[in-house]
Amino acid sequence: MTQTENLVKRLPNDIGGLPAEPIRRVDHELEPWEKRCHALADVLDYHKIINTEEKRCGVEALGAEMVGKLNYYERWIVAFANILFRKGILTPDTLARKMAEVEARWTAGNQSESGDITPS
């Protein structure tokens, strides 16, 4: 079987039955943003803005490379952004500007904070 044939037969999420290494019983406490991301997924589902199945498909649509390289909640938030673009709810430009604003806000807040504790 060729490699591309395998890509056609198995989308990135479709891994049931494939060989894989032994199970390592790993777990971790969610980072605050990961928990917010999970809550956002639920709220988007409540409002039928993005339902669970759309989210799963959205993750699949990221393609094998992103599915392989982004971690769990990274895949979710990127999938949400893409779905919101597709539905015309947000545009890439709006999101990019908002992200710059969020980052600038953090930097400003952090500078004033560190300013407060800097010994004179």
Partner: protein, 223 residues
């Protein structure tokens, strides 16, 4: 961005080195953290979601732990009529005990017997009976469990230290966005005198996923 590892190995590391590298010592939010904040704020600005909804949902998520599922299982062990209702309609029976379902999912409860051992998985992603168990552990969401649970469940169970006799059938149920499963483990022997509360203490998260049996020794095992 730190350089990602290869393929599924990358998954194993997730949540540890990667996230810490992203957030760093400065506490500077990472790219995806910023994206989450930005998406959320834009949706609130557009009044598509309420300003308090995320916080309230986080509180709801925090209130869901395997203790709820344990309560359901212990009740089913002591109350045959409840057990029958639970097996007939999992969601309705849980709601009877005051456990609300905050999503549209149905719950099918799978009873372990002397002849059948059940195991739950979500091969496509990470569907899980969250209203009664809380969020799934990472291993449930990672490739090894998702891939192998359906094709070699006995080997998978053995990795959890669970050996199921050959004359016991193993049934693996693959969850979907709409249908979630919960395993009703067998009541351990020698617990005839236990109170419902004592029984609930024997029921761990992993017993309700089906990777380990409920036992007097395994009760109170770290979740």
């Amino acid at each position: 961005m730190n350089p990602p590892n290869q393929g599924h190995d990358r998954d194993h590391a997730h949540g540890h080195d990667h996230l810490h590298a992203e957030t760093g010592l400065s506490g500077r939010p990472g790219y995806y953290d910023i994206m989450e904040t930005a998406v959320r704020e834009l949706l609130v600005e557009r009044q598509l979601i309420g300003p308090d909804e995320i916080r309230r949902q986080i509180e709801l998520l925090d209130s869901r732990t395997p203790a709820l599922g344990a309560k359901v299982v212990a009740r089913a062990w002591v109350d045959p009529a409840f057990r029958a209702r639970l097996l007939a309609d999992g969601r309705k029976a849980c709601e009877e005990l005051g456990i609300s379902f905050y999503d549209d999912t149905q719950l099918i409860v799978l009873e372990n017997t002397d002849k059948v051992h059940n195991l739950i998985v979500c091969t496509l992603c990470s569907c899980y009976p969250r209203p009664v168990l809380g969020l799934p552990p990472d291993w449930y969401k990672l490739k090894p469990y998702r891939s192998r649970a359906v094709s070699e469940p006995r080997a998978v169970l053995a990795e959890f230290g669970t050996i199921i006799p050959d004359d016991v059938e193993i049934r693996v149920s693959d969850s979907t966005a709409m249908v979630r499963y919960l395993v009703l483990p067998k009541r351990p022997e020698g617990t005839e005198d236990y109170s419902e509360e004592q029984l609930a203490a024997l029921v761990t998260r992993d017993t309700m996923i089906g990777v380990v049996p409920a036992s007097v020794e395994q009760g109170k095992a770290p979740q």
